[in-house]
């Protein structure tokens, strides 16, 4: 029983991390049809920014940890908004060029991070409680998983409230459905594009700081490795569906944890298998709208 509880909660923690990356990917694809391969770089830069702040202010207190998350969000949002404004904006409806540019940006930014921070992992510490465990039904759950789950729930709630109750949220929801009709109502939908990129970048930046706490280190490759699973989550959840991404993130990560434990470390294989099944049976994903 305790093993199941452990796998379940740690799976949800990992799923929370996937969601923080996948939420932005899904929103960006849903509104703009852009598959953003540079999204992992937003996460990595957020992680390094958080670490830089923590090492200057002292990483063992909660104030610094929360400030690191906030800085990660801001840096991720600025990087993402700048990416949209300077690179993607000229390439809407040009999907091949978008892929080339975002893949190029991902490669270039990792090389830049290598140059600035080196290729070796930098080990990070945080408030003492994060390194400890909490007993639940006999299972010792690492505390940082609770922070991940809390952060993902707050981000999900924040995005849902933003989409439901703000003018930009209304424009984004309408734009996901019919972008050209939004412009035909006299609305400059490009501003909404920048806002969506910034929101996605902020979520990834938060994910970056929390990923470094989850893995215990920060490295230039951290975003790229998480991006692969975030893409899988986005596709399984349904491109453009935020709630689909949340459900798929939990499903993928929990399945991955259980397969790793019970099926001899085959978690990644099982996830890819799940992706194949979803694509065959329900190509639009769990909650995606049919093309």
């Amino acid at each position: 029983m305790s093993t199941v509880v452990l796998l379940l909660i740690t799976g949800l923690g990992l799923g929370a991390l996937y969601f923080l990356v996948a939420s932005g990917l899904s929103l960006i694809y849903g509104l703009m049809g852009v598959l953003n391969f540079a999204h992992g770089s937003f996460l990595t830069l957020g992680a390094f920014a958080g670490w830089e702040l923590a090492r200057r202010l002292g990483s063992d207190n909660w104030g610094t940890f929360i400030a690191s998350i906030a800085l990660g969000a801001v840096v991720g949002a600025i990087f993402a908004a700048a990416t949209e404004f300077f690179l993607i904006r000229r390439l809407y409806e040009r999907h091949i060029e978008q892929v080339l540019v975002t893949v190029g940006l991902a490669l270039a930014s990792v090389a830049l991070f290598d140059g600035i921070w080196g290729t070796d992992p930098i080990y990070v510490t945080g408030p003492k409680w994060l390194g400890g465990t909490t007993q639940i039904l006999g299972a010792s759950i690492p505390n940082n998983r609770f922070i991940l789950i809390l952060a993902a729930v707050l981000v999900l709630l924040g995005i849902v409230l933003f989409l439901k109750y703000t003018r930009y949220g209304l424009i984004i929801r309408a734009g996901v459905e019919n972008r050209s009709m939004v412009t035909a109502l006299g609305i400059d939908v490009r501003r909404a594009f920048t806002v969506v990129f910034a929101i996605g970048g902020a979520a990834a930046g938060i994910g970056g700081v929390l990923a470094s706490s989850y893995y215990g280190y920060v490295a230039p490759s951290i975003g790229g490795s998480l991006l692969i699973f975030a893409f899988i989550v986005t596709v399984i959840g349904g491109l453009g569906s935020l709630s689909g991404a949340a459900i798929a993130a939990a499903l993928v990560a929990v399945l991955q944890q259980f397969a790793n434990f019970y099926l001899g470390g085959t978690g990644d294989f099982v996830v890819v298998l799940l992706l194949a099944v979803v694509l065959l049976v329900r190509p639009s994903g769990l909650l995606g709208s049919k093309a």
């Binding site: 209304l170 929801r173 309408a174 459905e177 412009t183 035909a184 109502l185 006299g186």
Partner: protein, 243 residues
């Protein structure tokens, strides 16, 4: 130019590289309803979309909305064109199905003082269904929502594309009545296949054939000429067209 609200000169438009409108030239009077007529697929909708910049286009589109000052629209993006006071009611409604009726209307509000009361009076059903998802409305209700979105703002020109397409006769009457009411205050360029509605509303007619304008003049004169109707609209007789 005092009686003209829109001038289109040599407009050509393409969709996915295919020429759909070629060298179209016409003017829209500053009052009343002007019908844009032609067979299915001749480029009426593409002309409207070309004016609005919703598809790739070339040519001169000049708007005389601001105290008769000429403003070129053909170099501007769609949202800027609409912001100058051009309302658009698209073919097939294009309401946002996952937004509620109230959200659809709120999204369309451009003016600081939107004409909510006017729209509510014209379409009371929309008020009653404010919380309903637009995708669950009937075709007629969706058309009223689409019209309501355009009429919320004080426009200087309305571009209305096939507003009665696929609607039950009783709803067609309601839509025509709403357009007649709107036309009292704003000129309308109307794409319409239902000739009875055209007879009821339009003063002028512009006829397109093969992507080009082939006739411009009075709507009643055109609709009174059975040979012209048969030639350009593919309708056997006026009586049949009206049925």
């Amino acid at each position: 130019m005092s009686n003209i609200i829109l001038s289109v000169k040599g407009l050509s438009a393409r969709i996915a590289g295919q020429q759909v409108v070629e060298d179209v030239t016409f003017e829209v009077p500053a009052t009343g309803v002007t019908a844009l007529l032609g067979r299915n697929g001749v480029g009426k909708t593409s002309t409207i979309k070309g004016i609005l910049g919703l598809i790739e286009r070339k040519g001169e589109v000049t708007f005389f909305g601001d105290d008769q000052k000429a403003t070129r629209l053909d170099k501007q993006r769609t949202h800027r064109i609409v912001q100058q006071g051009i309302g658009y009611v698209p073919e097939d409604r294009e309401v946002f199905s996952k937004l509620t009726v109230a959200e659809n209307l709120r999204l369309a509000e451009r003016d600081s003082n939107p004409r909510r009361d006017f729209v509510a009076e014209l379409f009371p059903d929309l008020v009653a269904r404010a919380g309903q998802l637009a995708g669950t409305l009937s075709g007629g209700q969706q058309q009223m929502l689409s019209l309501g979105r355009a009429l919320l703002n004080t426009n200087k020109l309305l571009l209305v594309d096939e507003p009665t397409k696929g609607l039950a006769p009783i709803i067609v009457g309601e839509v025509a009545a709403a357009l007649a009411e709107a036309a009292k205050t704003v000129p309308i360029l109307l794409v319409e296949q239902n000739l009875q509605v055209v007879r009821q509303l339009a003063a002028g007619a512009i006829v397109i054939e093969g992507g080009r304008v082939v006739h411009t003049g009075s709507a009643s004169e055109f609709l009174g000429d059975e040979e012209m109707i048969q030639r350009f609209l593919g309708v056997a007789t006026a009586a049949e067209a009206a049925s």
